[in-house]
């Protein structure tokens, strides 16, 4: 890896984050909506707040959130905040800060999403490789591929609904909702808490794994068919290498690169990628928070979550750019010359 390559990629990383952050700032403003006024309208309509009260509140909160300042000034403040990862107060949850909300809700979602992504990926890749391998009996493919085709096309939340209905509601085998038992307090240092969290995470993880793993498997199966026809695969077999050595070292490994790119992108959505599933299981996590922020036009919460999301994606892509040549020696850090 060359220093100039590294520097270029870091520069590109910052460029992506800055561009995305700017779009993130501009788009909500283009909508021409006033989040403070909308909140007050809802309050007037839903609780009989008086006009005088609402006007005073609008004045105060517009000033408090800096929405009375010129747009360029708001933008500069915003970019500064992005750099410090300090997005100020949430409009709808005032006086809670955006970062407080992101951390306290994100930590409920993150563990189960990470686990489900890695289980889905590992299981899906191995299954797909096995199904695409020319030594796998045909009846296995006939048996496994059709259900996988169905599962990969079904939204995760639908699987979640089915699991909730049968496993949690009817059979009462696992909890229906919540990130952990509501007789416990959140304590990530306690094994009992971890066990409670894990038990509650089984159904959400299963909802994601059943769908995601099928997707990974179908993709990997197609890749295996491609690499099996390559000269190096034929040569490896001709050399008399063991079947499993050919499978793992020559076929699976060479077919792995596109799925790994997909994994990096998937990891970029780690914060909000399970929004519907977490919502159905009442995790009160970041995905549903993002939905709420969009619906209520909570500028600052929206800025915070989207910026973190963009950073995750940019960082994941950056890491993949860095490690591609380490995973596959055919890829070089040096620029291609014509």
């Amino acid at each position: 890896m060359t220093l100039s390559y590294f520097v270029r990629r870091v520069f590109f990383l910052f460029l992506v984050v800055w561009t995305a952050a700017t779009i993130n700032f501009v788009l909500p403003h283009l909508a021409g909506r006033d989040p403070i006024k909308e909140q007050m309208l809802i309050q007037i309509a839903s609780q009989g707040r008086t006009q005088a009260d609402a006007e005073a509140m609008i004045r105060t909160y517009t000033r408090l959130f800096g929405l009375d300042r010129p747009l360029w000034e708001q933008y500069l403040t915003y970019i500064g905040n992005v750099m410090r990862l300090d997005f100020g107060y949430s409009i709808n949850n005032y006086p809670r800060t955006v970062m407080d909300i992101i951390i306290s809700r994100g930590r409920l979602t993150l563990p189960f999403v990470v686990v489900s992504i890695f289980i889905s990926f590992t299981f899906g890749i191995l299954l797909g490789a096995f199904l695409g391998w020319n030594r796998t009996p045909q009846w296995v493919s006939n048996l496994v591929v059709p259900p996988m085709l169905v599962l990969s096309s079904v939204p995760q939340f639908l699987v979640a609904l089915v699991l909730i209905y049968f496993v949690a509601f009817r059979m009462r085998l696992l909890p229906m909702n919540g990130a952990y038992p509501r007789t416990m307090v959140e304590d990530w240092g306690s094994l009992t808490f971890w066990m409670g969290y894990a038990k509650h995470a089984i159904l959400p993880i299963l909802s994601m794994v059943l769908v995601d793993a099928s997707g990974w498997a179908l993709g990997m199966r197609a890749m295996m068919v491609t690499v099996e026809g390559e000269d190096y695969a034929t040569f490896a077999e001709a050399k008399g290498l063991t079947t499993w050595r050919v499978f793992f070292r020559y076929l699976l490994r060479n077919a792995l690169l596109p799925p790994l790119t997909g994994l990096a992108i998937r990891l970029g959505f780690i914060i909000t990628g399970a929004s519907l599933v977490e919502s159905f299981f009442a995790y009160n996590g970041l995905g549903s928070t993002l939905g709420g922020a969009i619906g209520n036009f909570d500028y600052f919460l929206l800025y915070g979550i989207v910026t973190i999301m963009v950073m995750c994606i940019a960082l994941a892509t950056f890491v993949m750019d860095m490690i591609y040549p380490l995973l596959d020696p055919r890829i070089s850090y040096k620029a291609q010359r014509g």
Binding site: E38, I44, G48, Q51, R96, R107, P111, T183, G189, L326
Partner: protein, 616 residues
């Protein structure tokens, strides 16, 4: 940069990823002592009728640890506040922590009953420009400090002094001076006549109004004015939030908030109430969706959800004998909320700037069919912008000549067509109304889901049948569409007359009726009328029980009906299935001591009425 071998990279990266994951998930966030999960509930047993002898309530530790499920009331509500009890800054509407507040009085409209609470009595000045309130002896804050009238004076002065605090409107607009005559007596001087102040600003009813939240002066006077809004007022170890309520906050996080019964309560100590509540803990959990709420109710995992759609309620009741609603197990499954729904018009936008067109819409609507199709009959129609409450019904009965003359419930397509023709419209080849330029007027019905998802399509279809080119629209910014005038017609309710019509009439204020091009968020129909404004002002200056009220009411409603800024369609219902497994004596139509919504300011009264069954 030196080369890194692939094997080294894979080893190091695997270790790093594992370490990072552990670190990310390993940050402890302990907020209260650890407690073990409660035991799984045993098999069903018949409900006991009397409060059983149960385990002794642990009172020495705060926050309280584990408590039995059969003394824990679980309500499935809006997002728990997670430590945000910022009384002055956070929007307290339906936030769930109303249980921590006690007002001067409560009011339950269905039983038409006022419960004098912190206050013992009140009396208006003869000219309506003042109010004297006498509080009970022996009231104490949760930290033991005596409650006095000075706390109320300080709360009101703060609302007047500091801009932009929650629930400041009435006090700012009306109170000239608040003074404590002695520890128990509050004297208010108003800058205008106000016969409703005690009701609108000191009485909890539903989730309405600018109730002054009476706060402990000894705590808040130590906080700088500019920090009032930001103070979250939460620290269980220090007993925050301080209140006079029997319930304090034990644990509050993203998953739930526990409101636990405190060791002592002034009302029991003074003999004002007989005994401490049967409910030892109220746990607020975040609401997800109707389906999950129904499943949790059936499995006895929650006791009280938000209000559900009629079809869901019917199906839920059919699957569990331990559930009931306000009307038992029969429709409409709920009580009338203060929010009657109308088809509202943007009255400054053609063609709905013409009252004839508005009445043409009214004649095109069949309200009973809306109830029958949209709610499967589980509801009632509305013939005015007022909720069907005893005192308002009595007033409406006295202006029957007006409501008969302007009968919005009349479904008459011929009259509708005649009015449209008079307004200059003709029908095109497909049978839709067009103006003189051949353009179909915008008649889309804006209405958010899920609130209106069941009735809005019926309304739109009825309008199509009458020749209006209409469809139901529910964009994500449906609220904004009403305010900025994009929506020509929309479904919406009226906030919040309960015992007297003034609160609803003041929705149509001329000062808030913005012209097109501006957001009109105070008066969303943008309708105003100088004669109506004059009559409304007279109502404001008249006591609700003054005999003059009927004549004034008639005058305003005659103007309102003739103009018809919105067309009433249905009464709004709260359909809340409740579980009788762990707690009984929920309020219902036979025992309407309070409306049963626990997300309302009145939740303390509901909780005090509950009786533990002792069921496991």
């Amino acid at each position: 940069m030196s080369n890194i071998s692939r094997r080294d990279f894979l080893r190091v990266s695997t270790t790093a990823v594992a370490g990072a994951l552990l670190a990310a998930c390993g940050a402890p966030a302990t907020e209260a002592p650890k407690v073990e999960p409660t035991a799984k509930p045993a098999e069903e047993k018949p409900a006991a009728t009397a409060t059983p002898k149960g385990p002794v309530r642990p009172v020495d530790a705060w926050p309280v640890g584990e408590l039995p499920r059969n003394r824990t009331l679980i309500y499935y509500n809006n997002t728990p506040p997670n430590g945000n009890f910022a009384l002055w800054g956070a929007d307290p509407h339906q936030a769930g922590w109303a249980i921590c507040q006690e007002p001067a009085a409560f009011y339950g409209v269905h039983g038409d009953k006022q419960y004098m609470w912190l206050a013992e009595s009140y009396k208006y000045a003869d000219d309506g420009k003042g109010l004297t309130v006498v509080f009970r002896k022996g009231i104490k804050w949760s930290d033991g400090t005596p409650f006095t009238a000075n706390d109320v004076v300080w709360s009101m002065d703060t609302l007047k002094r500091v801009d932009g605090l929650q629930k400041a409107g009435n006090v700012k607009a009306t109170v000239e001076k608040a003074e404590a005559v002695d520890d128990l007596t509050l004297k208010l001087t108003f800058n205008q006549v106000d016969w409703r102040f005690f009701f609108t600003s000191m009485t909890f009813r539903f989730d309405l109004g600018d109730n002054t939240l009476i706060q402990p002066k000894h705590y808040w006077s130590t906080v700088a004015d500019d920090k009032l809004r930001e103070d979250k007022f939460y620290d269980p170890a220090k007993g925050l939030p301080i209140s006079t309520s029997p319930y304090g906050v034990g644990v509050s996080n993203e998953q739930y908030t526990n409101y636990d019964l405190r060791k002592s309560w002034w009302a029991v100590e003074t003999g004002f109430v007989d005994k401490e509540p049967d409910v030892w803990r109220i746990q607020q959990q975040p609401f997800t969706n109707d389906t999950l709420a129904a499943q949790l109710l059936i499995n006895k995992e929650i006791d009280h959800p938000l209000d559900l759609r009629p079809f869901v309620v019917a199906s839920t009741l059919a699957q569990a004998d331990h559930l009931s609603t306000w009307t038992g197990r029969k429709p409409p499954y709920g009580y009338v909320d203060w929010w009657p729904i109308s088809v509202q018009f943007c009255t400054k936008k053609p063609p709905f700037d013409n009252p004839k067109v508005r009445w043409a819409v009214a004649y095109a609507l069949n309200q009973q069919a809306i109830v029958d199709i949209g709610w499967s009959g589980a509801g009632t129609v509305a013939m005015s912008p007022f909720p069907a409450y005893p005192k308002l019904n009595a007033l409406l009965d006295q202006i029957k000549d007006v409501t008969d003359k302007y009968n919005v419930l009349e479904f008459n397509l011929e009259k509708s067509a005649a009015l449209m023709t008079e307004a200059g419209f003709t029908k095109d080849g497909e049978g839709f109304w067009v103006d003189k330029d051949g353009v179909r007027p915008d008649a889309d019905v804006y209405a958010g889901v899920p609130l209106f998802g069941d009735i809005a399509p019926v309304v739109a279809e009825q309008l199509r049948q009458a020749g209006f080119y209409s469809q139901h629209k529910a964009p994500p910014d449906v609220w904004a569409a009403k305010v900025d005038g994009r929506a020509s017609m929309f479904l919406f309710g009226h906030g919040g007359a309960t015992i007297d019509p003034f609160d609803t009439l003041q929705l149509y204020q001329e000062a808030n009726a913005a012209p097109m091009g501006e957001q009109s968020w105070g008066n969303i129909t943008r309708w105003d009328d100088p004669e109506f404004a004059k009559a409304r002002q007279e109502i404001k200056n008249t006591a609700p029980d003054d005999p003059k009220m009927v004549e004034l009411f008639k005058k305003t409603m005659e103007i309102w009906y003739a103009a018809l800024p919105d067309c009433p369609i249905v009464q709004w219902y709260h359909r809340i299935p409740v579980s009788n497994w762990y707690f009984t004596n929920w309020p219902d139509e036979t025992n309407p001591y309070m409306n049963s919504a626990l997300w309302h300011w009145t939740m303390l009264q509901v909780v005090l009425g509950l009786k533990a069954t002792g069921n496991a």
